[in-house]
Symmetry: C2
Subunit: 148 residues, 2 copies
Amino acid sequence: MNQDNITLLQKHNLSVTAARLAILWAVRQHPHSDADMILKQARQKAGSLSKQAVYDNLHALTQKGIIRSIQPMGHSARYEPNEDDNHHHIVCRSCGHTADIHCEMGKAPCLDPSHTHGFAIDEAEVIFWGLCPSCQTNPVNQSNQTKK
Amino acid sequence: MNQDNITLLQKHNLSVTAARLAILWAVRQHPHSDADMILKQARQKAGSLSKQAVYDNLHALTQKGIIRSIQPMGHSARYEPNEDDNHHHIVCRSCGHTADIHCEMGKAPCLDPSHTHGFAIDEAEVIFWGLCPSCQTNPVNQSNQTKK
DNA sequence: ATAAAAATCTGGACTGAGTCAAGATTATTT
DNA sequence: AAATAATCTTGACTCAGTCCAGATTTTTAT
């Protein structure tokens, strides 16, 4: 329901706009879609919507932890609701199709995932994110992310 | 030495060219550099070198497994020698600086990495790569990679 | 060693994802 | 209801990477 999204946005100190509701709806509708697909979907819900608004909101929602983004090598960024359930992703080398991989929590973290969706897996790519020593004390050189 | 690289290329059925030797050298010199930095480095070694040759060769070398590439969200692709030692990467959210994380093999795969280079880690991103069910039987829809 | 065939390289135009910026519109606060 | 703050629109722009066609270099066959 829409009321859920409204209170969700308010809880995070984000003003409630048609654009935001439509984008949230679109991300839930088709998880793993890219900005362009979200634009198209959300436009139908919202009537009109600019490319920029989509990017602005995807960033805002990501920053608040409401949605999550991944960017598989060679593809544009994909977005999904942030369920905080420690799942990972599997991406098809051939067509780029993306699915979720769930871990069995508590167990050794999943390089032998519990359900592969029929994919033939050949590589597990792991990237850790954080702050390097110099940026911990002096996070000046912001080149991305937390831009505003 | 150069002879090593020459035989390495021959072993993989790649013709030995000045461009390739210079690019290999550059990747070894500064692992985790992007195409543009490799272009600049390799140009110094090779005299002249086109952007396209860099991309062509980075792809060829990657395909043969001689080098490896990663593409952290929001950054251009980075290249490194493929040492086949099952290491992963850590990327600074603030400045993009990238370092290697080595696993202790045989142990539960490393979401608690052995040496963090002083990074403050806040997320482990895992992407599995492979072929989806439909592309296993019919890998027609090549949108990337093995383009030629 | 040499010619023919195959692979690679060059340069320049182009694509597509994403960003910038300034003015207009919409939400929120008072 | 007015003032302020946040968001949205439009359009130009950047940057990584690709496409293409002709020129050059490397390899293979003689």
